[in-house]
């Protein structure tokens, strides 16, 4: 039985709760010598917490990566948009009768250049989670993305996508409106672009729902994000008919950023603050911005035709197989 995020984080959360309580006690303490004692104790606990985080995150296993990538507290697309860009104007609608809030997008300024942003968006409150369908995008989300990709191409704006989805919506409604076609068409559209495209996997890169907006010239992953052909629970349930063996499946699937780089499937890892992206949002946003500027800087040197070819060549070489001539 694989640990849940709550179980895995419990010792840390308890430590942090203890520190908060100690601080409250210290704040109210009148006696200076007692307060000093208490503050020493707090420092001690904080050091212990830091060491604990060090240990927890020093060598995250694949399943722990899954837990961290899915954590409620993790920054979502709009957190990055707000911190990294300015003047973002969300544009909505697939222009075909439907709208989706699990994928958001629109133009924004990255320093002094306009870019087109597209990203999965999970919700924080219960209402927002429902509105955003828990990050499971519907066909209309991908069709909106296609419209924004076309706009980016028309107005020569680089495309930046943020990937964070457990997978595309697989329900009856989504199927009846062609979720497969929508994903395929979005991938197809990205390969048409002659403007640069950069994707950042910020949390969960969940199978088809992820690649639908990640067919970019550069694909970067946050240190503790995951990118997988299938959810580990789904894989476990197919392989062993035991959905609770997600941890074993996560290991088998090699879904970490580190593995993706080893297989040359992503271009770089963006380091996270100690203890994960949510522990220092300004820092992770700064890191993401640096990585985006660096990727765009490389792509800016290319002409439109070369940008198109670069993207094709990037994906063309993916695949590991033998031929009779030896690999």
């Amino acid at each position: 039985m694989s640990k849940t995020h709550k179980e895995w984080e419990r010792p840390l959360v308890e430590l942090e709760d203890g520190i908060l309580k100690l601080k409250e006690i210290a704040r109210k303490e009148q006696d200076p010598s007692k307060r000093e004692q208490q503050e020493t104790r707090i420092s001690d606990y904080e050091a212990r917490r830091d060491r604990y985080i060090d240990v927890m995150y020093a060598n995250l296993g694949p399943w722990e990566k899954v837990l961290v990538a899915r954590a409620d507290k993790r920054p979502y697309t709009l957190d990055y948009v707000q911190a990294i860009f300015h003047g973002f104007i969300e544009l909505q609608g697939d222009r075909k009768g439907f709208t989706d809030h699990a994928i958001i997008g629109g133009p924004a300024m990255l320093d002094n250049r306009p870019v087109m942003i597209v990203g999965h968006q999970k919700g924080r409150s219960i209402q927002e989670r429902q509105l955003r369908n828990f990050g499971y995008a519907r066909p209309e989300g991908y069709r909106k993305a296609i419209r924004l990709f076309e706009m980016a191409e028309r107005f020569r704006m680089p495309v930046i996508t943020f990937v964070d989805t457990p997978g595309a919506d697989a329900g009856v409604e989504a199927e009846s409106r062609g979720i497969s076609e929508a994903i395929a068409a979005a991938i197809f559209k990205m390969f048409e672009l002659t403007v640069p495209a950069v994707s950042v996997i910020i949390g969960e890169g969940g199978s088809g729902g992820a690649i639908g907006i990640a067919a970019s010239n550069r694909v970067l992953m946050l240190e503790h994000s995951i990118y997988s052909v299938i959810a580990p629970e789904g894989c476990a349930s197919i392989l062993w008919r035991q959905a609770d063996r997600g941890a074993d499946a996560a290991k088998a699937l090699k879904l970490t950023a580190q593995s993706a780089v080893d297989f040359n499937l992503v271009d770089g890892i963006i380091p996270e603050p100690k203890g994960g992206a949510h522990r220092d949002v300004p820092l992770i946003c700064a890191n993401v911005k640096t990585a985006l500027l660096s990727s765009l800087g490389e792509l800016d040197k290319l002409q439109p035709d070369a940008i198109y070819a670069d993207r094709y060549n990037r994906f063309r070489k993916m695949g590991v197989f033998a031929d009779s001539l030896g690999i």
């Binding site: 329900g171 409604e173 199927e175 076609e181 395929a184 390969f191 088809g208 090699k254 499937l265």
Partner: protein, 270 residues
Amino acid sequence: MSNREPNKAEGFLQCAHCKKIIFSVDFEQNLSVCPYCGHHHRLSAHKRIEITFDPGSFSELDQELSSLNPLDFPEYAEKLASAVEKQQTNDSMTSGTAALDGMPVSVAVADFHFMGGSMGSVNGEKITRTLERAAESGAPAIIFCASGGARMQEGLLSLMQMAKTTAAAQRCSKAGIPYIAVFTDPTMAGVLASYASVADVILAEPKALVGFAGLRVSKQAGVGKVPDDFQTAEFALNHGMIDRIVARKEMRTTLIQLTRMLGGTSTRVR
């Protein structure tokens, strides 16, 4: 899903759909379509090629490609070896060139019998090469799909085949070369959500299973009730996702007509 293969016995077999007994000879002559209920039973790639393209015109390419186990995924090597031995081929996809009423075409034909037609690195590479050969030579691409989806044993490498194959389809489109996909039973998940759905024309065999997720997953995910024909070719047609349902015995003629009209004329400006 129930087993869709007919149960074979000496000289005759039982339709897995209507359970009627059919003489093997009749079944063969009827292109593995049940003469009683019309059920289109799955075909091997070999048989499909034989009944679709000009006799003797098929030249196989890429057959030397074979799968590795880059992730060292549990049990993958064994499953692969067993499939290779049983099916006497390296992959579910057979690719090459052929002729259709004399017109050169670049083709790939899937065989569900080989590991459920799943798309790993070899499968994706063959699709990609088939579409690239079309884009480069000007010969229209024809792909018969049959797949349960991506091959999870190759992890992210498999997911990337969705992008790679779709990119190759975009090349075809950009070059103005027709690409026709035929959905056979089943065409699902990662294959449906990539190169299969971006073809210029999409045909399907009657009653072929066509869908994104397993029926169980769809039922869990959805709130509405599931229609009777959910995830069939007929459902896909009614929801605008495919162009036509074509019976197996009409398939060759339809492909010839389409190929001729969309890309087989000599007056075409390239």
